[in-house]
């Protein structure tokens, strides 16, 4: 049963991601990416990480994608620019090299993983309930990782100010 759900969700994720990369209209790309993130949230639930699944939906599919949608609508560029900025022959070579490099990466990862023995997850109920507990995540976040958490707040402040300064109209 788990396997069937995993393969459905993984298939939706991969197909939606391919749609993001292949769609000519940025609006469709953003919509496809939201579908992909929804399926990924389902995969996190399968991995006994409900907190991460909810964060994925709220932060990624909610906040970040709305930001992208705003910018796509603001710029109103609903098609890819003509590729005539570069010489035609050079562009073809670049495309082929890009496809080759990403296929090479996929083969390398698949080859490396096929050399590793099959690793099962533990199905001990005590271990499962301890990692899916939000209380444990919170305790760990505010004790062991408290410094990283505070630094993150500075990062967000910096990026907020930076975004406003960069996008401001110069006068």
């Amino acid at each position: 049963m788990d396997r069937i759900i995993f393969y459905i969700l993984a298939g939706v994720t991969v197909l939606a991601s391919l749609g993001v990369v292949s769609s000519k209209n940025p609006m469709h790309s953003v919509m496809m990416l939201i579908v992909s993130f929804g399926a990924l949230a389902g995969l996190y639930v399968l991995l006994d990480a409900p907190f991460t699944a909810v964060t994925q939906i709220i932060v990624y599919a909610g906040a970040i994608m709305v930001l992208f949608l705003f910018v796509v609508m603001l710029l109103n560029q609903h098609k890819e620019d003509d590729p005539d900025v570069m010489p035609a022959g050079l562009r073809g070579v670049n495309m082929r090299a890009g496809v080759l490099l990403s296929l090479l990466l996929a083969f390398e990862v698949a080859w490396g993983l096929s050399r590793v023995g099959v690793t099962m997850f533990s199905s001990d109920p005590a271990a499962v309930s301890s990692i899916s507990s939000v209380a444990r995540i919170g305790t760990s976040l505010f004790t062991t990782h408290a410094f990283a958490f505070e630094v993150t707040s500075v990062l967000i402040l910096v990026s907020m100010v930076g975004a406003v300064v960069i996008a401001r109209r110069e006068r």
Binding site: D2, R3, F6, T13, V14, S17, L18, V20, V21, P26, S29, V30, L33, S36, L40, L43, L47, F51, T52, T55, Q56, V59, Y60, F68, V71, V72, L74, L75, E80, D81, P83, V85, N94, A97, G98, V99, L101, S102, L103, L105, V109, L113, T119, M120, F121, S123, A127, I131, I137, S140, H145, A148, L155, I156, V158, S159, G162, A163, I166, A167
Partner: protein
């Protein structure tokens, strides 16, 4: 029962799709979206390895990755808007002033 290897292979496939998007597309917004795909591929590795080891650390680092992704999206999109104002295009081929 699904094995760790299947999650890692899914993550590798998603990362390759993201890389292909960055290499192939000629639209700054789609390139940023491909970067988000790559970040999510790494997130699923963190969560599945954390599940394998029985600790919450994988989920916590995923939380931080999401925060950094939000900051990156905000600054990246601000840059896209500023660049679009200057050149009226979203093609990265038009922004080569710093190229040697």
């Amino acid at each position: 029962m699904v094995t760790l290897n299947e999650y890692l292979i899914l993550s590798g496939v998603l990362f390759s799709i993201g890389t292909a998007g960055v290499f192939l597309r000629r639209n700054l917004i789609t390139i940023l979206l491909s970067i988000e795909i790559m970040l999510n591929a790494v997130n699923i590795t963190f969560v599945s390895v954390g599940r394998y080891q029985g600790t919450v650390d994988g989920q916590i680092i995923t939380f931080f990755v999401m925060t950094v992704a939000a900051a990156e999206a905000a600054v990246g999109l601000a840059l896209v808007i500023a660049l679009f104002r200057h050149r009226e295009t979203l093609s990265p081929d038009a922004f080569t002033s710093l190229k040697w």
